[in-house]
Every structure is written in structure tokens, then in C-alpha cells.
């Protein structure tokens, strides 16, 4: 029997629509695992850290009057080693820096460039902020996602203004700025990345002369200039309303 609309059983908890908080950080809706030991400063006696990583971190620590200043570079190094800021990566940094893993995870989750979940090794940040969007950045992002398909090696993210609006729409491919991009470039980028070739050499920002030395452009790309599409340039905003 179908309950009538006024029947209170229709409102069982599971059926009430809820909007989840959403987070790029795992565990935000899970309880602590009471079987785990508290996350105190890992003792170097029991945490294995490679010599290279330890020395590199110590090198950074020596640059500052307060060793904690090395947190960002140290996490970057560990992210390079582990592919992402995995719990193990964070514990290793914590052991060397004599900080709690919590301290570092709180830092890592604040900044967009730290990956808090396992990700493909080729990182493409597509700028979808206003200046790029005005020149088709959102469409480039979609083209890039399509080009990447479900290749697990690709990590395509939208990103806030990358500081290269002069080559809008642009992207940062494994840290190399390229632009202005069109949709064909996106396919080329993915091809070149996955085959290990240098990426889009003719559109690298690093080789570009200053604007005044460039010819006057004659307009904007016409395709994909609708900036109303709902791509949010943000590594953070991943989850949306969900039924919970």
C-alpha cells in the first residue's frame, strides 16, 4: 500500500532530502576510528623515512628561524614522492619536522595545490576564473576533461586565476603554463602528456615576449564564451547536494 502524502512514514529519515556539506577532504562525515591510536608526533624510531626526503626536509627547516616554516615545502616534497598527501606522506613529514600529523593535515587541506586523495600523475589546472572565462576558459576545461577521458594518469582540475590572463584561456600542465588554448590543444596536451613528450611547446608562456611586442589580436574566440555554465574554478567545491 502506498502511504498517503500526509502519512508520517513518508518522512522517514532516509527519505528526507538533505544537502551534504561536501569536501575535498575525506572523512569529513565519518567518525573517528576508535581502534586507531591517537595521532601524536610520530617517533622517528618507528616511522621509516627515506634519507633523501628527510635530508631535503631538514634542508628546508634550516632556512627558517622556526622549523614549522618548512611545512609547505616539506609537504610538497612528500607529495612528489607519494603522488599525493597520503596519511603516510604526512606522517613521514611529521616525524622529520617533529610536528603532529594533524598540524600538517590542517595545513595541507587549506591549500589548493595539495592533493588530499590519490590522483593521476599528470596534473592539469585549467583556469576558469573570470579573465579566462571571458575568453572561453570553461569550455577549455570541458574539452580537457573530455580529452583526458578516464585515463587514470590524468588529473584535470579547474583552478582559480593562475596569474596568466594575458594568455587566456590557459592551463598549467604539470606546472608549465600554456595558452591561449583552443579545443584542439586540449587533445594535444593529453596526447603529449601520456606519451611523455614535451607539452605544447609553441604555446609556452615562458617563451612569450611581452604583449607590446605581439601583434594586435583581432577578437575573441567565439566558441564557449558562455561563462554562465556552472563550472566552479575550485579544487574544493566538489560535492553537491546528495541524498543522505
Amino acid at each position: 500500500m502506498t502511504p498517503s502524502p500526509s502519512d508520517p512514514s513518508r518522512r522517514l529519515a532516509g527519505q528526507v532530502r538533505r544537502y551534504s556539506h561536501g569536501s575535498r577532504v575525506p572523512d569529513w562525515d565519518r567518525a573517528a576510528d576508535l581502534q586507531k591510536a591517537p595521532a601524536v608526533i610520530p617517533d622517528l624510531a618507528t616511522t621509516r623515512v627515506s634519507d633523501e626526503l628527510r635530508e631535503a626536509i631538514e634542508q628546508y627547516m634550516s632556512r627558517y628561524p622556526d622549523r614549522r616554516s618548512a611545512a609547505l615545502p616539506a609537504l610538497m616534497l612528500a607529495q612528489k614522492v607519494h603522488g599525493w598527501c597520503s596519511p603516510l606522506a604526512i606522517e613521514q613529514v611529521a616525524a622529520v619536522m617533529r610536528l603532529t600529523p594533524g598540524y600538517l593535515s590542517s595545513v595541507a587541506t587549506f591549500y589548493d595545490m595539495f592533493e588530499t586523495e590519490p590522483k593521476g600523475e599528470h596534473t592539469v589546472y585549467v583556469c576558469t576564473n573570470i579573465s579566462c572565462a571571458l575568453r572561453g576558459g570553461d569550455a577549455i576545461y570541458e574539452a580537457m576533461v573530455e580529452a583526458a577521458g578516464d585515463d587514470p594518469r590524468m588529473n584535470v582540475r579547474t583552478f582559480e586565476c593562475l596569474g596568466a590572463c594575458d594568455i587566456a584561456p590557459m592551463a598549467s600542465v604539470n606546472g608549465e603554463y600554456v595558452g591561449p588554448l583552443d579545443e584542439a590543444d586540449c587533445r594535444q596536451i593529453v596526447d603529449e602528456l601520456t606519451s611523455g613528450r614535451p607539452v605544447l611547446e609553441h604555446k609556452r608562456l615562458r617563451d612569450r615576449p611581452s604583449a607590446i611586442d605581439l601583434p594586435m589580436g583581432d577578437g575573441l574566440p567565439t566558441a564557449g564564451r558562455d561563462i554562465s555554465n556552472r563550472i566552479t574554478a575550485s579544487g574544493n567545491d566538489v560535492a553537491g547536494p546528495k541524498d543522505m
Binding site: 544537502y19 569529513w28 567518525a31 624510531a45 628561524p65 596519511p87
Partner: protein, 876 residues
């Protein structure tokens, strides 16, 4: 270090001239004019204001923007407005913003009725909300730890809890993850927030986001009463407020007393209240018949006890510990001395000190206070770890280092939780604190010979001792030596006391702000002694004609049949005395063991012949003496428990009453008919308590060493340094033998053992060793190992710690099982028994290295206080 001076200024708030201390934050200054400025994130206990919530915006003439009252120091002539349209607009705006994502589940929220967000919304909010978008939702509530549930929907991101974890307890486990509106309070990778002080965040949370799991859904504010008293679970004697509903204690909160606890509690104090209402409580007198303890009525038990004591006469002995009040100790020693002519009284597990030394150490001029730990120029932490021995002192020392630039100097055998905060750390061999003191004394008196000899006897070097002394004395003359009564534990206790007094006198620690602070082993160790419960002296350190035996002597005499009757007042010798084996024999040979005890312990169950049900501290009245000499009052919060189905009167009786009744049966009438009368007798009998009244003690306590009359009554003690000899050198580790040191974890107590919510914290044995030794013995972290000597063995899980010096192992004592109280200092053999594959519940508390390290060793200048400026769902 001189305390900041208060300078009163006048400012104007809402048109009124108000006097307030200069540089007080406006929200505090406003209170002097009866003006309330609402706050969320501001909590002065947490250090510098952060100005995050923006609730406290006020208008200050001459400043165009609204300012946060929580972070603006008041100045003379300032003109402040809190009732203008602009301020109201801002306040309504902030409340509206805060309620955007806050669920309106007040009717089912534990905080409802005592919730700052609720109050401020009513008082300052707009009354309505224009927000119609979907609210953010989290799964709720979730376990954050065995003690705390977190409801992230309710969180208003005020930062209080994470600031506590970062800046007060410095465990840095509770963090904020993510950024912006996505931020949430969390721990690393789903680890539980388990540390010694976590419960404070529940009290700090201004909404119902952090909820104590032991209090959840137990009561609403209109069901409960508050009762102020003092926690007796450790010598810190924090001031607590018990939440009582229907004569049951449901919750323990801090009753802020800056002079004692600074408003914090440790998790033991906060959650072990559960021991008051457990099945293990002894609620009626018991006597052993045919080997079993059976209930009897009070008359039978008292008569039997009186008879046993009467027969024993001078062959009786009594030991007091734990929650014993001054009055109980005082009355019991009267009974023993006046009626049994017996002085076998001891409250010192390690043995008694000769009277001049006991008196010398209690000299009021030499007593440091708890706030001195924070304001001193330097503190020497001498072979103790406050985190285990008196946890609240740990927070005070951290505060001193962080905010007052105090120099912390650590000299200890075992790595302490405060090492990372220390300017210098000297690691000596276990059991050689005396040698270290002798070395310090030699360094202070330029006795090169003794210095070298004593330093090496301590397993250290002359240079290290000199460096330590340099750091201790370089900042200024306000020096505090914080030590544990364990210092006097061995056979050379008196010599250690002499050395300590020498050092104190050479450093001239008699001034204000300097001195000694002893952490007694018993929660009221100091009070019990001052009440005269000691073999060597009577009340107020009065000399006695024939001193009795001290703890060790009592045990030996019992074992050899020279003593017959033993009265145990809140004492569990099997667990807490250092020579467990001797005590096993002593208790078995005793003719009569009278146990006055609130919980069924191993000692009671196997050895007691007569059992008087003891009071839990919430049921008690009387006085205590804090380690710094503060006389504090215990006040009854609930009635005495009675056993199920018995007529009233068969249940627990007040301790003073039981001892009085016993005395009466032995023909001695104390004339005490109420707890307060016992206090009066005590105050009259102890010269330096003369003139004290319960009223004067009140809720905050009175430090007797600070009273002029008391100092006069106490009289002089000798300040002349005496010649010291170099104690025997520490045992030397060899190929197969390691030095052994012991420690008593915070959590080793009978109250923890029986509190359901604290089961996770019950300590199990660990054997801490250095990675070097571990490799030598082929031991991996977590392996099961055995240490032992001469046939006595202790087993535990190996814990590799970087900070443990090579050649030394540390084991815990005072555990309910696997206790290391079986052996004293010396060397032990270590043997690996097996891997960790088998299920060995690594205990999170003593298994955690944080006890040895703190995340912070910030550069000194950062420490200065700047001028003002899927887890299971919950189903309890």
C-alpha cells in the same frame, strides 16, 4: 618575575564613566560598567584573542570602522558605544550569519538551556532569518573520541577547541581541516582525539557541537544542580563543579580557580566521576567469614575492628592515602596515639623523613605556589613528569614557557612531556636524582670534587650539571623546583631531602615567587602529614615521644609477625607500594586487616578482614591541603549510597564518623558530632592552622603559608647547608642488562579502572626502550617483551622511543596488573617473548609518545605574550 601591575583608568561606555584596569580588553572592561558585549571566540584562558567571530563589534569614537571589543585594549579616556544602530546592525548581521548553517535542534541538543549561541541569539539577534537556501548537513553525531561526540552541523567555527589543542594542551591533535565555509573540526586521518586534557573542549564549545558522551541526553539544565567541591583523584586538587541530578553525579566541570587549576581539568578528573555510581562501590560494612567477605551491620564491624585494634595496641599500624581528608587523618592518628599508644602511621609510600627534614621542607618561606610555576624566571622540573603526577601543573608550565618566557629546565631520568618546551634537558640515570642534587649543590658551592663524583654517579657529567645550573639561574632569582615525593622513595630518602634543602638554601628560594613545590604521591599527601599522620611527628610537625614505623618498616614488621593489625585508609598497598612482594607477605601475615575503602580493590578482596565502606569524594566533607599549602574544602554534593534493599543507615557513613565511633568503642570520645567539628579540632591542634575557619576557606581555599600568623606559628627551620656525601653510583648497563626506571601513569587508578567511559585509558604495561637497544635485542615496536631480575618478571609491549637513552628501559608501576612495583632501581634483563601479532591492545595513553614530546619548540621570541593587545554510531 613580577606580576603585571594593574593601573586603573577611566573610560566612557554608553555614556557612563567607568573605571577599569588599563589594557583590559573592552569586553572585560565593559563589565565594570555592567555592559555586556556578546562574544563567541573570545576566551582569555586560550591566550591572545583571535577576533574571528566578529560578534563583539563596538563603536569607538575616533576610529571609523567598528572594532572587535575582544581584542581592543581599553585606554584612558576612550569613548565606546555598544548601543548604536551601527553596532546593533553588525551584531544582528553576525548572528544571522552564524545561524545560516546552524540547525535549530535546540530541543534535542544537550547544550540547550546553557548555550551561549542560544542566549546571544535571543539577546542580540535579529529575531528572523532571511536565509532560505539549503543548510549544510553533516552526518551526526559522530565519535571524535571515546569521550566526545562531535556534531559538525552545530559548529560555528569559533576556533576555541582547536586553539585549546594547539595553545593550551599543545597536543595539536584537534585541527581544522579545509578552508572557508568548508572548514570543519577534525583529527588527522580519522584518529581519535585522545590526549590527557581533551574534555576541556566540551566546556569551551559555545554551542552543542562537542558533547561529552557520558553526559549526552542525561539531563537538561533545569533538571540539575551544581555543587562545588575539589577533585581528589590526584594531588592537583582541581576545583570542580559537580552536576547533580537526583542525587547522582552526571558531569564534572571546572570551577575556575586561577590559583589552583587555571580553569582546566584533566580527563581523569572530568570523567572518572563515574566511579561514584558503579557496582564495584562498597556500600555496606563487610567482614570475612570462612574466607569470604559478607555484609554485616555497622555495629558488628565497628566492634570487631575496635576489638582487633584494642588487642593490638602498639602492634597496630595505619596507612592513609588517596581521598583521605585532613580530618580523617587527624582523628585516626589521635585514636592511634592516644588510645593505642601506637605511632605506626604512614602516608608516605616511600618512607618517612626525620622530623627536621620534614619540617624543613614544609617551611612556609620555601613554598612556591602554582601560579609561581607560570611567573617564575625559571623552573627546575626534577625527576618527575607532571603529566602523570599532577597533570594540571603540566598545563601551567606550558603556559609559563609560552606566554611568560619562563625558562623550563628539566632534569629527569625518563623523557618528560615537557622536554620540548625546556631550555635544557638533562637526562640522568633512573633513581639518581639525589646524586644530581648533590652535584648541583657542589656546583653551587664550588666543590669540584663532589661535582665530578656526584655528576657521574648520576650518569651525567659535571659540564651538563653546570649548564643546567646556568640556565636555571641566568634569568633571575625567582626559581621554583618542582619535584615529586618519589625523590624520597628509596632507602636514601633522608639524604635526598638534605640535598634538596641544601640546593634550595643555596639558591635562596625563600623569596616571594620562588620556592619548592612537592608533588605528593597521595592526592592529599601534604594534608595528611600536616594533620599529624606520620611516624615521626604529630599534628603540625609536633615532635613525638616515641616515633613509630614508617611504611617499609610496617610491611616488614607485619611480615615478621611483630605487628598484628593494619588499618588501611583509602590505601591499596599491593598496587601502589613499591615493594609488592613484601606487601603480599605482610598482608597475608597480618592478623586483622581493616580496610576503609570505597571500591573493591585487589587488596580488599583478598586480604581485608573488616571492611568499612568509604566515601567517594562527592559524598565527603572535610578539608585538604593542596601541594602548595592551600587548605581547600571538600563539600558534600550527594548523599551517601546505601546498598540496594537495605534500611537506611546500613550504607556508607562519613569517614570522620566511623573513626569517631571506633574511638568511642575504644573509650575515647572525640566529641565530634559533625564534620565541621572535626575541622575545628584540627585547626586548633595544628599551630599553623590556628585561626582558620571553614568560612574563610570557602570556595577558593586559603594558603596557610601565606598567613602571617601561620608563619609565626610554624617557627624557624635551619637554613644552614650541611655537608653531603656522594651517593653510590647508578647501576651500569651491560651487554645483557639494562637500567630500569619506573613511572606511574596518570591513568593508573582504581577510579579509572571502574569508570565505563575510561576503559580505553586503562593502562597496560609497556616497556619503553631506545631504538638502539631494541635493535640489539632484536625487538620491534609492539613486540611482547619481558623484563626482570632475580625471578621477578614484568611483561609488556615494547615501545620504541627515540628519546629514551640507550641502556635504559622504563616500565609503569601502579597498574592493576603487570605492575613493576615488583622491583626497584637497578638493572634488569630484557627478553623478547613474541611478535605483536597476537592481540595486544596497545594502550593509547601510555603507548603514546606525545607524553614525551610536544609539537612545539617555538623560538623564544614567539613565546612572549605581546602587550595587550564508519564507525559505530553513538549508542550510549
Amino acid at each position: 618575575m613580577p606580576r603585571p601591575e594593574i593601573n586603573w583608568i577611566t573610560f566612557s561606555i554608553d555614556g557612563r564613566e567607568v573605571k577599569a584596569p588599563e589594557n583590559a580588553m573592552l569586553v572585560d572592561a565593559a563589565k565594570y560598567g555592567d555592559v555586556e558585549i556578546p562574544v563567541f571566540c573570545y576566551e582569555p584562558k586560550l591566550g591572545q584573542p583571535v577576533g574571528a567571530c566578529r560578534m563583539c563589534l563596538v563603536e569607538i569614537e575616533g576610529i571609523p570602522k567598528l572594532q572587535t571589543g575582544c581584542s581592543t585594549p581599553v585606554k584612558d579616556g576612550m569613548v565606546v558605544h555598544t548601543q548604536t544602530e551601527r553596532v546593533h546592525d553588525a551584531q544582528r548581521a553576525v548572528v544571522e550569519f552564524l545561524l545560516i548553517n546552524h540547525p535549530l535542534d535546540c530541543p534535542v541538543c544537550d547544550k540547550g538551556g546553557e548555550c551561549p549561541l542560544q542566549d546571544i541569539t535571543y539577546g542580540w539577534g535579529p529575531g528572523t532569518s532571511r536565509y532560505i537556501e539549503p543548510k549544510r548537513h553533516f552526518v551526526k553525531p559522530l565519535e571524535l573520541s571515546p569521550l566526545i561526540a562531535i556534531d559538525r552541523e552545530r559548529c560555528i567555527l569559533c576556533y576555541r577547541c582547536v586553539r585549546f589543542s594547539q595553545e593550551i594542551s599543545e597536543d595539536y591533535q584537534l585541527i581544522l581541516n579545509e578552508r572557508g565555509a568548508h572548514s570543519f573540526v577534525a583529527t588527522f586521518d580519522g584518529h581519535p582525539y585522545v590526549a590527557p586534557f581533551t574534555g576541556n573542549i566540551v566546556e569551551l564549545c559555545p554551542v552543542g557541537a562537542l558533547i561529552s558522551r557520558s553526559y549526552r541526553f542525561r539531563a537538561r539544565p533545569w533538571d540539575i544542580e551544581g555543587a562545588g567541591t575539589v577533585c581528589t583523584l590526584c594531588p592537583s586538587q582541581c576545583n570542580v563543579d559537580l552536576t547533580v541530578r537526583d542525587d547522582r553525579v552526571l558531569r564534572v566541570s571546572a570551577r575556575d580557580n586561577d590559583e589552583v587549576d587555571d580553569g582546566w581539568l584533566c580527563d581523569k578528573g572530568r570523567f572518572a566521576f563515574q566511579h561514584i555510581h558503579v557496582d564495584e562501590r562498597i556500600t555496606e560494612p563487610l567482614m570475612r567469614q570462612d574466607g569470604k567477605l559478607v555484609p554485616v551491620d555497622w555495629d558488628t564491624a565497628l566492634t570487631a575492628a575496635a576489638q582487633a585494634l584494642g588487642e593490638a595496641g602498639p602492634r597496630a599500624a595505619a596507612i592513609a592515602d588517596g581521598e583521605t581528608t585532613n580530618e580523617e587523618a587527624f582523628l585516626l592518628q589521635r585514636l592511634f596515639r592516644e588510645r593505642l599508644d601506637c605511632g605506626n602511621l604512614s602516608a608516605r609510600p616511600g618512607g618517612d623523613l626525620p622530623l627536621p627534614l620534614a619540617r624543613g621542607l614544609a617551611d612556609p618561606a620555601l613554598q612556591a605556589t602554582v601560579p609561581d610555576l607560570e611567573f617564575a624566571h625559571a623552573v627546575l622540573l626534577l625527576d618527575c613528569d607532571p603529566i602523570d603526577d599532577a597533570p594540571i601543573f603540566d598545563l601551567r608550565l606550558r603556559k609559563g614557557v609560552r606566554r611568560r618566557d619562563m625558562n623550563l629546565v628539566v632534569a629527569s631520568a625518563r623523557p618528560t612531556a615537557l622536554d620540548a618546551n625546556a631550555t635544557t634537558v638533562l637526562r640522568h640515570a633512573p633513581g639518581t636524582a639525589e646524586a644530581l642534587l648533590v652535584a648541583l649543590d657542589a656546583a653551587l658551592s664550588d666543590d669540584r670534587g663532589n661535582l665530578g663524583g656526584a655528576a657521574s654517579a648520576a650518569g651525567s657529567s659535571a659540564q651538563a650539571v653546570q649548564d643546567l645550573l646556568e640556565d636555571l639561574t641566568s634569568a633571575g632569582g625567582d626559581i621554583v623546583i618542582l619535584y615529586s615525593e618519589r625523590l624520597f622513595g628509596g632507602p636514601r630518602g633522608p639524604q635526598a631531602a638534605e640535598a634538596l634543602l641544601n640546593v634550595a638554601n643555596r639558591l635562596n628560594l625563600t623569596g616571594e615567587g620562588a620556592g619548592l613545590l612537592e608533588i605528593p604521591i597521595g592526592a592529599n599527601g601534604r594534608g595528611v602529614r600536616e594533620a599529624g599522620f606520620a611516624a615521626t611527628h604529630g599534628p603540625g610537625f609536633a615532635p613525638v615521644a616515641n616515633p613509630g614505623l614508617a611504611t617499609h618498616g610496617i610491611a616488614e614488621a607485619l611480615a615478621e609477625g611483630q605487628l598484628s593489625t593494619l588499618y588501611l585508609l583509602h590505601t591499596d598497598p599491593l598496587r601502589h607500594m613499591s615493594d609488592g612482594e613484601l606487601w603480599e607477605r605482610a598482608l597475608s601475615s597480618a592478623q586483622t586487616v581493616i580496610a576503609h575503602e570505597s571500591l573493591m580493590t585487589e587488596t580488599v578482596a583478598t586480604h581485608a578482614d573488616i571492611v568499612f565502606p568509604g566515601e567517594a569524594y562527592a559524598e565527603k566533607e572535610g578539608t585538604l591541603v593542596h601541594p602548595d599549602g592551600r587548605v581547600q574544602r571538600l563539600r558534600r554534593a550527594i548523599g551517601h549510597p546505601t546498598p540496594f534493599n537495605r534500611h537506611p543507615g546500613s550504607g556508607v557513613r562519613a569517614g570522620w564518623q566511623v573513626i569517631s565511633d571506633l574511638a568511642k568503642l575504644l573509650g575515647l570520645d572525640f566529641g565530634v558530632f559533625a564534620g565541621s567539628m572535626a575541622s575545628q579540632q584540627l585547626f586548633a591542634a595544628v599551630p599553623f592552622f590556628n585561626g582558620l575557619t571553614l568560612d574563610e576557606i570557602g570556595g577558593r581555599g586559603v594558603r596557610w603559608p601565606a598567613r602571617e600568623a601561620a608563619r609565626l606559628a610554624f617557627g624557624e627551620t635551619s637554613r644552614e647547608p650541611v655537608a653531603l656525601d656522594v651517593p653510590p653510583a647508578a647501576a651500569v648497563p651491560s651487554e645483557d642488562a639494562l637500567r630500569v626506571g619506573t613511572f606511574r601513569p596518570l591513568w593508573s587508578s582504581k577510579e579509572v579502572d571502574v569508570s565505563p567511559i575510561l576503559q580505553y585509558a586503562r593502562p597496560t604495561q609497556v616497556v619503553e626502550l631506545s631504538p638502539v637497544d631494541a635493535e640489539r635485542f632484536g625487538v620491534a615496536d609492539g613486540d611482547k617483551v619481558e623484563v626482570g631480575v632475580n625471578g621477578t618478571q614484568v611483561q609488556g609491549a615494547a615501545k620504541l622511543r627515540h628519546a629514551v637513552p640507550e641502556g635504559t628501559v622504563f616500565v609503569a608501576e601502579g597498574l592493576s596488573d603487570a605492575s613493576s612495583s615488583l622491583f626497584n632501581y637497578g638493572t634488569v634483563q630484557l627478553r623478547r617473548l613474541g611478535g605483536s601479532a597476537e592481540e595486544s591492545p596497545i594502550n593509547p595513553i601510555i603507548g603514546m609518545p606525545a607524553i614525551g614530546e610536544s609539537p612545539f619548540n617555538p623560538p623564544r621570541h614567539e613565546l612572549r605574550e605581546s602587550p595587550p593587545g564508519t564507525a559505530p554510531r553513538m549508542n550510549e
